[in-house]
Amino acid sequence: MFQTVALSGSRGERQLFSDVSVTVKPGTLLAVVGENGSGKTSFLRMLCGLLSPDGGAILWQGKDIRQLKELYSAQLTYVGHLNGIKDELTPVENLTVSASLAGDESSGAIVQKALEAVGLVRPVHRLPTRVLSQGQKRRVSLARLWLSTRPLWLLDEPFASLDAAATSYLTQRLHAHLNNGGMVVVATHQEIAIPTDSIQHLRLTR
């Protein structure tokens, strides 16, 4: 179980949100919605432990993530607003490195399969990522979710610059993860086609 307790955060001099208490149970998804600049990205980065809260706490299985440190990092996969992939490397190289850094299996076959799962065809796998389109780069970044074996996924606008096909692959993948008892927090503008009983919304306002 993953929860925030009276969490408040600010960016620079600006208060973004305060007193946010939510609980994400296994098999459920938390959709963080709100207009641009409402602090969705900061909220997600805070959940990752990249940003420290002004007040309140984030608990993983009842323990403060600031005490857990690396133990907590080992529970999550974060797909940020930035893709976190290297332009000079090929999609295969990017995924192989990031999977091995995450401690996931990174054999060639598995990486190929993950890239195919996001709809990237084989010829693309060996090109430098630099020459791919925005949407394709995003797919490479999201392909990490097909390699991830971690229970908590934190996704910042994962649907941005994805076409309909890729959106549906990702939705299916999220669905499968939830059915496995995983937890997902998504910052998004879009409706996600997930059964309503496993989704809750958190609206951040400016």
């Binding site: 990752c48 432990g49 990249l50 940003l51 420290s52 690396e70 133990l71 990092s73 080992a74 529970q75 999550l76 974060y78 940020g80 607003h81 930035l82 893709n83 976190g84 992939i85 290297k86 332009d87 000079e88 490397l89 190289e93 490195v97 990031s98 091995s100 850094l101 995450a102 401690g103 996931d104 430098p128 991830s148 074996t149 971690r150 229970p151």
Partner: protein, 227 residues
């Protein structure tokens, strides 16, 4: 649940950075070329008397190495910062200081090692010979990793700031002074026929000290920069 072992994570970071360096071979070539040019300018400015050149050789070559390290510091974290890889690195479930050691090692292989390998040639240009040439190379081999370590702190502190290139120089150069003194001192001593062991041991001590302390400070600075 998955977690890489410490050595796996370390190797992963190093492998990626070296792979990237292979794709950007011109970057490596540039820092080598920079060192050669700067070192060649001094004889032109000072004059070709070999006695004078021998006296200034250790200082000039060491300052050149310092500048080469400084110029390449911008590459250490900036690209990773801009494309989000640094963010992901912070989330690797191993102590960040260990991963920083990996980054710094790759940085040294790319920017420090070429200078070390080149130094005998540059030493010859300045009329060094025999023992002192060997001491110059050894002192750079011991000293340049320390420069990369200390430089990493500055690079992390100035990450993403405007004018960070100049700022990092102002922050880091004073911290380089002990390494410069011991490194250049080793060569000077060997020229004077006094043993250079003391200076070399002190360089070694600087390395060990920075190895124990700098990655940790860099890790703290990186977390601050990414907040």
């Amino acid at each position: 649940m998955s977690q890489p072992s410490m050595s796996e994570a370390l190797r992963g970071v190093i492998r990626r950075d070296l792979l990237l360096a292979m794709r950007h071979r011109s970057d490596v070539a540039m820092s080598v070329f920079f060192v050669v040019i700067v070192a060649s300018l001094f004889p032109l400015g000072v004059g070709p008397e070999s006695a004078v050149l021998r006296v200034i050789a250790s200082g000039v070559l060491w300052v050149t190495a310092l500048l080469a390290c400084l110029l390449s510091l911008g590459r250490l974290f900036t690209a990773d910062y801009l494309d989000g890889v640094l963010e992901q690195t912070l989330l690797i479930p191993q102590p960040l200081a260990v991963l920083v050691v990996g980054k710094v090692f790759s940085h040294w292989v790319i920017s420090g090692l070429p200078v070390v390998l080149l130094s005998p040639l540059l030493g010859l240009q300045f009329g060094l010979s025999g023992d002192s040439l060997w001491v110059l190379t050894l002192s750079l081999l011991l000293g340049t990793p320390t420069l990369s370590m200390i430089g990493a702190i500055g690079a992390a502190l100035t990450l993403g700031l405007r004018g960070s290139g100049l700022l990092v120089a102002l922050l880091v150069l004073p911290l380089f002074i002990p390494v410069l003194i011991f490194g250049a001192g080793a060569v000077t001593n060997s020229l004077a026929g006094i043993g250079s062991e003391a200076n070399l041991s002190l360089l070694g001590a600087c390395f060990l000290f920075s190895f124990a302390f700098a990655p940790w400070a860099t890790a703290v600075a990186l977390r601050i920069a990414l907040e």
